[in-house]
């Protein structure tokens, strides 16, 4: 027990308190179950102590105190079960329910609403209110979220989140007294990329997302903790699924990556995995007449490995939406074919990265808690590539004075004595002269370098010695005769680009590993239905090289197989390029 910790008791149960910690924080940290309700308190936000439901009685103190803002003292005797506390809680609940509308059947929050839960626990007698309830604006369109002023209990969690975490305050509390409401300052919509968090924060159904409006109830959904796959930030998310379809994503908890937040793009990223209509059911092979014919897995694997065996130099590609295990199995497949995955054999990007690693300048540790005093971002917009990293770094900028500089190119990086984290994209890292600039950058104060790419798992690929899939990287590599391509939404998007289309049409034969049909399929000779990313299980690395585990959230449909299974099927048919003595 160090100097700062002491013991105090809640309901005669002894727990440990730290200096400066409030009663509520100590109680939650202890892991023991206490009867401590709260509306306006949130572990990532300030405590205004305005909801008054967390009141507890301390032995020897006359008035009740709010446990969310009262620091714990040594040898305090806190009681949450005394008559005074019960009466106080019942009183607070009564006042909240006075004007609260009877919306539970139509409110999206029903089943996970704090007001509902605390009413069942603390509300002692039926309401004596016989007048008409106040009518306010309902269903107010605020961009990707909807605000309902009647249900709002003005806990101000949303406004404090906007002000303290996002920094770009777009909503605030308006009017006074009984007319208190939340509104945007210009009356318009909330435009930043973090409005979905209002729905997570709100203890009642005042903020709801348009995406999930009237969709389902929480009791029919199964929760699975898995990282978000929309960008490389790798925020911890909670996937809610029912009947093998995803209904929504909410923010998960990870103090090193995303705290308790998730951006709107990630929130709406689950629609990608619900595309049931276009899914491939069976493997397909292009027959003699040029049309696709369905066939069995053995037949398709045999034809595919025949194609690979007969071709001169087959190339193997994968996009960044792949687990580390799947990527490594594709890497082994490429090695057996005397080629490399994503052209890693002669990739300037990979050589530059190895130079960075050998100089000890590869970024390590959590990026949002990084020890550097200055971030230099070259040619990227952090708010687009990794929004949660951007917002939490901006918070550090306001709170701790972290310096964030945005420059257009590497030459414009200024010198500084502070340890600096250099954040670069694939353009700079893929530049052939990059490794020579490393010493120069070191002299300017750069201690660590963090590469940012598109897609979900580029850092994982980089760390495994594979070039991540990007726009610049593929340039000349895809000119080979045959290719095996593990596609995802990124490549499907790019297949609309004329340059990529040209490269695909130059191919003799394309073996496509994909789960839904797309314009890429017209160039394919063999289509092997692959499990999409929500159905895979494996490890991925976030952009700052923290490992996350992608847990399977959906069951595969049809004859889908995982990437590792497909690679082993192809290996079984002896696709090896050189003769292997048996």
């Amino acid at each position: 027990m160090s100097e700062d910790t002491f013991k105090f008791s809640i309901d005669n149960v002894e727990i440990e308190g730290k200096k400066g910690e409030t009663i509520l924080q100590s109680a939650l940290r202890s892991g023991k179950k206490f009867d401590l309700p709260f509306y306006c308190w949130h572990e990532e936000l300030s405590s205004p102590a305005q909801c008054r439901i967390c009141q507890v009685e301390v032995d020897g103190w006359g008035k009740l105190v709010t446990s969310c803002s009262t620091p714990a003292n040594p040898d305090m005797k806190v009681s949450t079960k005394s008559d005074k506390v019960k009466a106080a809680r019942a009183g607070v609940m009564e006042l909240y329910l006075l004007n609260h509308p009877l919306d539970c059947p139509i409110c999206d929050k029903g089943g996970e609403c704090k007001l509902q839960d605390y009413t069942m626990r603390y509300h002692l007698k039926p309401s004596a209110f016989t007048h008409h309830k106040i009518r306010r604006a309902k269903h107010k369109n605020m961009g990707r979220v909807i605000y309902d002023a009647e249900r709002c209990i003005v806990c101000t969690r949303c406004t404090r989140f906007d002000e303290e975490v996002v920094g770009d305050s777009q909503i605030g509390v308006v009017n006074r007294g009984v007319g208190l409401e939340i509104d945007s300052f210009d009356g318009g919509e909330v435009t930043h990329n973090f409005s979905g968090n209002f729905a997570d924060l709100c203890p009642v159904g005042a903020w709801t997302t348009k995406d999930y409006r009237f969709k389902s109830r929480p009791w029919q959904l199964t929760k699975i903790d898995s990282p978000c796959t929309t960008c490389s930030n790798g925020c911890q998310a909670v996937y809610w699924q029912a009947k093998n379809k995803l209904h929504r994503i909410t923010a998960g908890k990870n103090s090193d990556i995303n705290k308790r937040w998730i951006c709107d793009k990630g929130r709406e990223g689950y629609h990608l995995y619900n595309n049931v209509e276009n899914r491939y059911e069976q493997p397909m092979v292009r027959g003699a007449n040029g049309e696709f014919e369905e066939c069995s897995w053995e037949e398709a694997a045999r034809i595919a490995s025949e194609i690979l065996r007969e071709s001169k130099s087959p190339a193997v590609f994968t996009t960044n939406l792949v687990t580390n295990e799947a990527a490594n199995s594709l890497k082994d497949l490429a090695k057996d074919l005397n080629s490399s995955l994503n052209g890693s054999d002669n990739s300037a990007l990979l050589e530059n990265w190895q130079a960075v690693v050998s100089k000890g300048m590869a970024q390590k540790g959590s990026a949002i808690n990084h020890s550097a005093k200055r971030f230099v971002v070259v040619g990227l917009d952090l708010w687009e590539t990794t929004p949660i990293f951007a917002v939490l770094s901006n918070k550090r900028k306001r709170d701790e004075g972290l310096v964030i500089e945005e420059v257009a190119s590497l030459d414009k990086v200024s010198s500084n004595n502070n340890p600096t984290l250099l954040i670069i994209g694939e353009k700079e890292l893929g530049d052939k002269s990059f490794s020579q600039k490393l010493d120069e950058l070191k002299n300017k104060g750069v201690t660590e370098i963090l590469p940012l790419f598109e897609g979900c798992n580029p850092r994982g690929l980089l760390e495994s010695g594979i070039t991540p899939f990007g726009s610049e990287v593929q340039g000349d590599k895809i000119a080979a005769g045959t290719a095996l391509f593990l596609a995802s939404d990124l490549s499907r998007e790019k297949s609309f680009l004329p340059q990529f289309k040209q490269q695909l049409s130059n191919l003799d034969k394309l073996i496509l590993l994909d789960d839904v049909s797309s314009p890429m399929s017209e160039f394919a000779s063999v289509i092997l239905p692959t499990r999409n990313f929500a159905m895979s299980f494996g490890g991925i690395s976030t952009f700052d090289n923290q490992s996350q585990v992608m847990k399977q959230v959906l069951q595969p449909t049809g004859a889908m197989k995982s990437v590792e299974e497909i690679v082993s099927l192809l290996s079984a048919h002896d696709h090896k390029h050189q003769e292997v003595p048996r």
Binding site: C104, I106, F214, K215, W219, Q220
Partner: protein
């Protein structure tokens, strides 16, 4: 050895056998001409009590010309055999003109699975689902027993109207809850 209680010694009647036969046949003949208590179902039925609980149906809101159901999914949750499927959706009217903006896009009850417990009617917060008096349900195909929203809104409880079936006119039939509420109002 215990005495065998069910066996008695044979008498002359037993040895003759014929009298026992006549005794039985005479009893059958007697019954042939006596009053019968069998009800010829389905042409005749017993009088059913008013609280007879039949299969559920959806209530139609006359003024607003829509179903009363707001797709809260409470009946779906409480249903023990889970035979109700609901998909909520948003109405196209604004909150200024209608009281509720939520309605069930899909509301299906599988009558083959329904156990007629009445939990759904009990759970409904807006009295949108009630138990009818229809109890006989025969069909050639199980899938035809899955009723959709339109079928549930049609008053099918009036269809199985048989002579002398109820103590009161089926057209005037309402749920027991409604009748009791009306009585309370007239009393108060």
């Amino acid at each position: 050895m215990r005495k065998n209680y069910y066996k008695r010694d044979y008498t002359l009647k037993d040895y003759l056998f014929f009298p026992a036969l006549i005794e039985g046949l005479w009893y059958t003949l007697k019954l042939f001409f006596s009053k019968k208590y069998t009800i010829q179902y389905p042409e005749e039925t017993r009088t059913f009590p008013e609280i007879l609980r039949g299969f559920p149906y959806l209530v139609w809101n006359e003024e607003e010309e829509r179903e009363r159901c707001v797709a809260c999914k409470l009946c779906e949750r409480v249903c023990p055999p889970q035979c109700i499927t609901i998909e909520p959706d948003e109405t196209s009217e604004s909150w200024l003109t209608v009281d509720v903006e939520r309605y069930p896009k899909k509301f299906e009850i599988d009558m083959g699975t329904c156990i007629v417990c009445g939990f759904c009617a009990e759970a409904c917060p807006v009295d949108a689902i009630r138990m009818s008096d229809a109890f006989s349900w025969a069909n050639y195909d199980r899938n035809d027993l899955i009723l959709n929203k339109n079928q549930l809104l049609t008053p099918y409880h009036d269809v199985s109207r048989l002579k002398g079936m109820y103590k009161q006119d089926p057209a005037k039939r309402t749920s027991v809850h409604d009748r009791k509420r009306r009585e309370k109002q007239t009393r108060a």
